[in-house]
């Protein structure tokens, strides 16, 4: 008999049906993955299984666990969750109580289950099982790294020895190396405890690495279900085919102009942050960027990769003039600056595309106002030229000039990122800094945005500095790669060579952590 059986599940909010007619079943010990983009209803489906939907959701269909339908009463459902279902959430920082030590949080999970007669476990054993040391138990969540927090979440989920572990995008907030470690940990624990896994992700490669059977969700419906191998190697539905194609990033490389002389030179940039200590103790300043030195040739696409917190975003902020270097200097076409003292007439030559397309537009300004903002850097433009430039850049990113009058909330994530690129292009810059340009986007639009960036580079002779931790994207886009660790640039090379024969320890770790391509 199957452990979990979902049949004809539908979830409605008011008049909108967000999940409709979803059916699948999980065998004991199986590792099942649900793939879907944001808004596809995959998270709501798992919340329905755990009985955690908001009160105004109307649920249809049946969900049975071991042949028993889920209890309606909240108290019985809470007991069932505690005994049989473990959950690991996406954002480990908000899922842990910041005021409780790790030991106490895990202890609480254990204690609640002792009351229900579950077999007893020790905090220490759980910590060891998820690969943490006992001293980590004494810490507060903010003293742990993202990966460690996710391990603590897993330990809490394991406290009741659940039959079913639900992991909802457990690695999307983590960087590449930690992601791989957490995925390996989950696979390991499931194998050891013969636990059933329901894994939710938008990342095909993570699902492929972890799951034996997968379902693809789109617009609240299950599009395709089957063996992981067969779905990924021979997708039947057009939507799945698009997803699989998009995850490979294979778009034909465009010819771009031969590299010119050095456009930007970064010379020994250092950025220290003061750390606030107590009244009488002085902390050593935190060095975010440590003597970074490199140059970008005009027309080049240079990528800066590294784990989160290695200082790559700080360096980008100094280059675009949002932050100021403690020491060292940057030269743009021979003119020297140190960060925020970037001369006004040079500002139009550098622009930045932000990571999060939802935070990068003022919700109260229409698109034309937001896009036109950088044109203040070119005084003396007539209203007509401004309009013309706006239309030009919006059309360059493949959108319609009629969209200029609309407001940001009317656009999808992919469209907003196109608009963000349009805003970066409106001053006709020479250097565009792209800070994780696609990591906040859905898989299926990532490829489109990258292809757009490649085409724009060829059309306008742009120079790119890409900040990312996504090696596959970097491999597809970059001419040259810099690897950064703890503020220092530790390795440099062409992507093909660098990823085939990594020299530095960090680069080797990064390459090793790369998930295999699907099918």
């Amino acid at each position: 008999m199957s452990l979990l059986d979902v049949s004809g599940l539908s979830i409605r909010f008011g008049n909108t049906e967000v999940v409709s007619d979803v059916s699948f079943s999980l065998q004991r010990g199986e590792r099942f993955g649900i793939i879907g983009e944001s808004g596809s209803g995959k998270t709501l489906t798992t919340l329905a299984i755990a009985g955690l939907l908001p009160d105004d959701a109307v649920v249809g269909g049946t969900i049975t666990l071991d042949g028993e339908p889920l209890p309606r009463a909240e108290r019985a459902m809470a007991r069932l969750r505690g005994e049989r279902i473990g959950m690991v959430f996406q954002e480990p920082m908000t899922a842990l109580n910041p005021l409780m030590r790790v030991n106490d949080q895990i202890e609480e999970a254990i204690r609640l289950n002792i009351a229900h007669g579950a077999p007893q476990t020790k905090v220490g054993n759980l910590l060891e099982e998820v690969g943490l040391e006992r001293r980590h138990g004494e810490r507060f969540p903010h003293q742990l790294s993202g990966g460690q927090r996710q391990r603590v979440m897993t330990a809490m989920a394991l406290a009741s020895r659940p039959d079913l572990l639900i992991a909802d995008e457990p690695t999307s907030a983590l960087d590449l190396i930690t992601q791989r470690k957490v995925l390996d940990l989950i696979a390991d624990i499931c194998a050891r405890r013969q636990m059933t896994l329901l894994f939710i992700s938008h990342d095909l490669k993570a699902v492929a690495a972890l799951c034996t059977r997968v379902a693809v969700m789109h617009d609240g419906r299950l599009v395709e279900t089957g063996d992981a191998m067969s779905v990924f190697s021979a997708p039947k539905q057009p939507y799945t085919q698009r997803l699989v194609a998009a995850s490979r990033f294979d778009f034909p490389p465009l010819e771009h102009a031969p590299l010119g002389g050095n456009l930007l030179e970064v010379d020994g940039i250092v950025r220290d942050y003061r750390q606030s200590g107590g009244l009488f103790q002085r902390h050593k300043p935190l060095r975010a960027v440590d003597a970074a030195r490199f140059a970008i040739a005009s027309g080049e696409c240079l990528a800066l990769v590294g784990p989160s917190g290695c200082g790559k975003t700080t360096l980008a902020k100094i280059i675009v003039g949002l932050d100021r270097a403690t020491a060292g200097e940057v030269r743009l076409e021979g003119r020297t600056y140190h960060g925020s003292d970037l001369p006004k007439d040079l500002r139009r030559d550098i622009s930045l595309v932000f990571q999060d397309p939802f935070g990068s537009f003022n919700p109260r300004l229409n698109v034309a106002d937001s896009l036109g903002e950088p044109l203040r850097l070119e005084p003396g433009l007539t209203a007509e030229t401004v309009r013309q430039r706006l239309v030009e850049s919006v059309e360059a990113v493949g959108l319609d000039a009629g969209m200029l009058e609309r407001y940001p909330h009317e656009f999808s994530g992919g469209q907003r990122q196109r608009l963000a690129i349009a805003r970066a292009l409106v001053t006709r810059p020479k250097l565009v800094v792209l800070d994780e340009p696609v990591s906040a986007l859905d898989m299926s639009v990532r490829g489109e945005v990258l292809a757009l960036l490649a085409r724009l580079q060829a059309d306008f002779g742009l120079t790119y500095l890409i900040i990312s931790h996504d090696l596959d994207m970097v491999h597809a886009m970059a001419d040259r790669v810099l690897v950064m660790e703890a503020g220092r640039i530790v390795e440099e090379g062409k992507p093909d060579q660098l990823f085939a024969r990594p020299q530095h320890r960090l680069t080797r770790d990064l390459v090793a952590a790369r998930l295999p391509q699907v099918a």
Binding site: V320, R347, S351, L352, E373, R376, L377
Partner: protein, 279 residues
């Protein structure tokens, strides 16, 4: 607009507030009797067709006094809120946009003003220039400044970390333009809600100041002043205290309901039925 009407408390609060404002406005052009008209023989009358709410110890018509008093209360509170917004919001925005020493100065300034209750400020002003409605306005207005400065700064700080503010800085906008274009429009809802709360607090404060004799002076009247006049006769003629007291309570409740409703209607986090927050 449909969104506003889907919040019943907002509708009730707004309508009640508007009714009081309309009554107050009406008192400017018409009251059943002139409020200065003292008519001792007709004092302490019970409510009747002639005097809807009866008459007070000087034979003045209570209905006329309440109408006029409500207007004074609204006017004092509204101007005080305007003073608070006009001075406090720019200070708060400046603190958030410039940071550093500017922020320090603004925060210490607000701490300093917070340390003096409105009553102390009013006593100070009265000692300097004598009592009157204008003094109440200034005293309550000064008290409103740090409130709005804090609210504006708090709201602006959370907006200032968003990428579109950084995009504005990249586009060469100065701190003042950042505050005007990007910060202010995004904290408007906070300010509107705080405004209604300060309105109701202002009405209470005006009543309090008039009650201790530092606010409105006769022959003009306010709800607080009516309370003061009636308190000596509370045991003999409780009606004279109940009428202005209930009027204050009703106005403040109406404003608070309207403020709560506005917050629910404006704050997107409290908006119902939005499945996108989960998916």
């Amino acid at each position: 607009m449909n969104r506003l009407w889907s919040h019943p408390s907002l509708v009730i609060g707004l309508i009640a507030t508007l009714v009081f404002v309309a009554i107050g406005l009406l008192s400017l052009v018409w009251t059943p009797y002139p409020i200065e008209q003292i008519d001792i023989p007709r004092r302490f009358l019970a409510p009747s067709a002639e005097h809807w709410l009866g008459t007070d110890n000087l034979g003045r018509d209570m209905a006329s006094l309440v109408m006029s008093g409500a207007w004074t209360s609204f006017l004092v509170a509204a101007i005080a809120v305007a003073i608070g917004v006009g001075v406090g919001v720019p200070l708060g925005l400046a603190a958030a946009a410039w940071g550093g020493p500017v922020e320090w100065v603004v925060l210490r300034l607000t701490d300093f003003v917070f340390a003096f209750p409105a009553v102390i400020v009013a006593i100070l002003i009265t000692t300097l220039v004598g009592p009157g409605a204008v003094n109440a306005i200034v005293a309550i207005g000064i008290f409103n400044i740090p409130v709005f400065a804090r609210v504006a700064r708090g709201g602006a700080l959370s907006i200032a970390t968003l990428d579109f503010v950084a995009a504005g800085r990249l586009a060469g906008l100065g701190n003042a333009m950042i505050a005007w274009r990007h910060l202010l429009p995004n904290i408007m809802s906070l300010l509107i809600v705080q405004g209604t709360i300060q309105m109701s607090l202002g009405i209470l404060a005006e009543a309090g100041l008039s009650y201790i004799g530092l606010g409105t002076q006769p022959p003009a009247t306010s709800l607080g002043l009516m309370l003061r006049d009636a308190q000596g006769m509370f045991l003999i003629h409780p009606w004279l205290t109940l009428v202005p007291g209930l009027a204050i309570v009703l106005i403040v409740i109406a404003l608070n309901i309207a403020g709560d409703g506005l917050r629910d209607a404006i704050d997107p986090r409290l908006r119902q039925g939005n499945p996108n927050v989960l998916a």
